[in-house]
């Protein structure tokens, strides 16, 4: 589902964010990505979502060779991916419902179908009663869950999360991680960047460790071949 072969990412200015990274995640797999800040976690996720392009090396995601994917096809490629950010990227000029509906509006669903799917997604993250609320009136845990609902509402094959629990207390963090486990159970390939080692080691999923742009450690490795 996700495959990196000797991927190098160098930002303008010569700073090398990733060097010679190779990894493979099969369909339906789940893994955590950890490491210090600046180790290259976000860069790796951005490469998968085509927010950045690799300097060298091959990346294949969801059956697409990203190196040769033309610019105009990027939107269609991204529709197969759900992305969650630490600061959840919600739009504050519209309601929770409209935030979550955005991917479906873009995909061209009709209003009744949009309503049905948005409510299902909000129900899943436990915020069905907040659909009319404005994002600013929600707690940060709730805002994060709206972000998750938006990422999964169009049923992407791949779910990426960049520090989704970065601002949350341990109990809320665990709740969020359990949500991800549930999505993974229904077949969504899930990759989560997190430095909360204490939490993620208890979840029984492989952990990829990045250090200064290199993949240094992966354990256990049933689905992952670094």
């Amino acid at each position: 589902m996700i495959q990196f072969q000797n991927v190098v990412k160098r930002y303008p200015g010569g700073q090398e964010a990733l060097s010679q990274v190779s990894l493979r995640m099969d369909e339906g797999a789940m893994a955590f990505l950890t490491g210090h800040s600046g180790a290259g976690k976000s860069t790796l996720l951005k490469l998968i979502a085509l927010i950045e392009r690799p300097t060298r090396g091959q990346i294949t995601v969801n059956g697409q060779h990203l190196n040769t994917l033309p610019r105009r096809k990027v939107p269609y490629f991204r529709r197969g991916i759900g992305i969650i950010f630490q600061d959840h990227h919600l739009l504050h000029d519209r309601s929770v419902f409209d935030n979550v509906a955005l991917p479906l509006v873009i995909l061209g669903y009709r209003r009744p179908e949009i309503a049905r799917r948005v409510r299902a997604a909000l129900d899943k993250v436990g915020l069905l009663h907040k659909e009319k609320a404005q994002p600013v009136t929600l707690s940060s845990g709730e805002q994060q869950r709206v972000g998750i609902a938006r990422a999964v509402v169009h049923k992407p094959a791949i779910l990426l999360a960049d520090e989704p629990t970065g601002n949350l207390d341990p109990a809320l963090s665990r709740e969020i991680m359990e949500l991800f486990l549930q999505f993974n159970q229904v077949g969504v390939t899930t990759l989560i960047a997190s430095h909360d080692l204490e939490l993620i080691t208890t979840l029984g999923k492989p952990i990829l460790k990045l250090h200064a742009g290199k993949l240094v450690h992966a354990e256990p490795q049933p689905e992952i071949a670094p």
């Binding site: 589902m1 369909e27 339906g28 979502a49 927010i51 969801n62 059956g63 697409q64 105009r72 096809k73 939107p75 269609y76 490629f77 991204r78 529709r79 197969g80 992305i83 990227h89 739009l91 000029d93 955005l102 991917p103 509006v105 873009i106 995909l107 061209g108 669903y109 009709r110 209003r111 179908e113 299902a120 997604a121 129900d123 899943k124 938006r150 999964v152 169009h154 049923k155 992407p156 094959a157 229904v186 077949g187 969504v188």
Partner: protein
């Protein structure tokens, strides 16, 4: 959320609804973008009003000038029919021969009226109209030639036809010269033509101004919604989807600017019509100001919409590309 485990890699469009739904949704999407962009104007009334006022004034100015020109042309068109030829006759021609000559000219197909004026008639008229009558008394003979005043039929009022008639008349026996009294009309026409060019130039410059005003407004709008654009791109919005509300925003600015410009022009017409009619009455004319008419109004609105769309197209093409998720 209920979802069967995916078994193989989906194609990127795999989670899209069926094609007919998407096609319908495409129409709905356009309608939504149209209404949404209108709502944006409504939510920012002060800024929108300022922009619209600038657009309206920039459109009303050349439209008003064009109308003024059109009216001047209409007014001078009336005078065209006054084209007259003075056919001067040799002194050797007697008064009775003059009357015969006038009769022959009158018989021509292109001539409506031919009025003979003997040397004495001409002297009397000159004395009456010029105010130089006393100067004439110092001369011992009448210096003025006899002439025939010729008015062509309306179908022969054009400059080329009148010139042809003049040549025809000059060929007649006893005629020394046929002079066309329409130089001043030609001069006025030339002046109007020059003014028309000037109005076209002003219109082009102000049109360019409208293009830039709309472009800049849409540019600021895009920059203000940068975050929204980033998020939309992240969840797979195509450039077309993102572009749409901005393009429609430009369309609304153009349309409303055009309507406001029409209103300004209409107001100016109403305010000017009274004095113009008074002036025309003093010249014994029942001339009234002409409005832009249906096609003129439609042309103005069409131009305004095209400029609005064009301006936003320029801004959108240039700036949407630059905004990518970070």
């Amino acid at each position: 959320m209920s979802r069967a485990p995916a078994r193989k890699a989906r194609p990127a469009r795999g989670n899209a609804p069926p094609i007919h739904t998407r096609f319908q949704a495409w129409g709905v999407n356009h309608a939504q973008a149209l209404v949404f962009s209108l709502g944006r104007l409504y939510r920012n009334p002060f800024g929108a009003a300022l922009t619209l006022a600038v657009i309206a004034i920039a459109l009303a100015l050349p439209s008003g000038l064009w109308l003024a020109l059109k009216n001047l042309q209409a007014a001078s068109g009336d005078w065209d029919h006054g084209a007259q030829l003075s056919v001067f006759v040799a002194d050797s021609v007697t008064d009775s021969a003059l009357a015969q000559l006038a009769g022959r000219i009158q018989a021509l197909e292109a001539v409506e009226r031919a009025q003979p004026l003997t040397r004495e008639d001409a002297l009397a008229e000159f004395r009456a109209l010029s105010g130089f009558g006393e100067a004439l008394d110092l001369l011992d003979h009448n210096p003025l030639p006899a002439l025939v005043l010729v008015t062509p039929v309306p179908a022969h009022q054009g400059p080329a036809e009148v010139q042809a008639l003049a040549r025809q008349l000059e060929a007649l026996e006893g005629v020394t010269q046929a002079q066309v009294d329409m130089q001043w009309v030609q001069r006025l026409q030339a002046l109007l033509e020059m003014t028309r060019r000037g109005v076209v130039l002003v219109a082009i410059l102000l049109g360019l101004g409208v293009l830039l005003v709309v472009g800049n407004t849409i540019r600021l709008d895009i920059l203000n919604r940068r975050r929204e654009i980033e998020v939309a791109k992240l969840v797979g919005a195509t450039n077309g989807f993102i572009r749409r509300p901005f393009l429609y925003g430009g369309l609304w600015l153009g349309l409303f600017g055009g309507l406001l410009a029409l209103f300004i022009v209409g107001l100016a017409l109403v305010l000017l019509n009274g004095p113009v009619q008074q002036l025309a009455a003093l010249y014994g004319s029942d001339f009234r100001l002409q409005g832009p008419g249906f096609s003129g109004a439609l042309g103005l609105l069409g131009t305004a919409v095209a400029l609005g769309l064009g301006g936003s197209w320029i801004a959108v093409g240039r700036h949407l590309r630059e905004i990518e998720p970070q």
